[in-house]
Symmetry: C2
Subunit: 130 residues, 2 copies
């Protein structure tokens, strides 16, 4: 059965298509937000801030260390959902491979106001799957 003119995606299939770490990939858009998936392994995400946008993290596989400025780091496990409020400086890392779902505004740069070797433009976040 097909869904005719609109596209349905399966998150588990999309995860299999993720071939590199730190490459958020847009799987859907809803209103002003993008839903993205990404794999993280290591500590390459820099401290950064999204001044005007919240960012939701949902752990699909593995676990992730979430660090917020001026707070103790905490561990997110599979199924955990956490929203980094706008304006809060943060970074994430993971010793082992971790797969996450993100909800971010279409205007959000995934490394915020910081450009590093892992920074991808929105255009490049679309290239993997679309």
């Amino acid at each position: 059965m097909t869904n005719n003119e609109f596209d349905m995606v399966n998150i588990n299939n999309q995860i299999k298509k993720l071939h590199s770490y730190y490459s958020p990939t847009i799987i859907a858009e809803v209103n002003n937000e993008y839903v993205k998936i990404a794999k993280i392994k290591g500590d390459k995400v820099p401290w950064h801030t999204h001044e005007n946008e919240d960012e939701l993290f949902y752990i699909l596989e593995g676990s992730l260390v979430m660090e917020l400025e001026h707070q103790e780091p905490f561990i997110m496990q599979k199924g955990d959902v956490f929203v980094v409020p706008k304006g809060v400086k943060h970074k994430v890392n993971s010793d082992k491979e971790c797969t996450i779902l993100l909800i971010e505004s279409k205007t959000t740069l995934h490394t915020g106001n910081v450009i590093t070797e892992i920074t991808k433009s929105i255009k490049n976040q679309k290239t993997h799957i679309f």
Copy 2:
């Protein structure tokens, strides 16, 4: 380890707290959207439209029949993500229990412009967990 001043929720734990069908429950808010979980069993969701808002469906457990006006119904399976674009009349049903995650604008009424026995206000969508 705690996450200090901000709240983290675990979706699997929240699903266990869902005690009735057709009761979308807000688990997070990000920018202008609510993330909700709900269980569906049966065919009580009426045909309805959200004129100005897209609505994202993500199947966490089970399967769901998605019906869009003027199109063949299609089945969503676990892991499937589908966005009902704003203005598209739709309904969903499931013979067996199905657990879904929804992303909806804060202004969205979950049964759109149609009020039925299952319609819940946003306030009532918060009461289960918060």
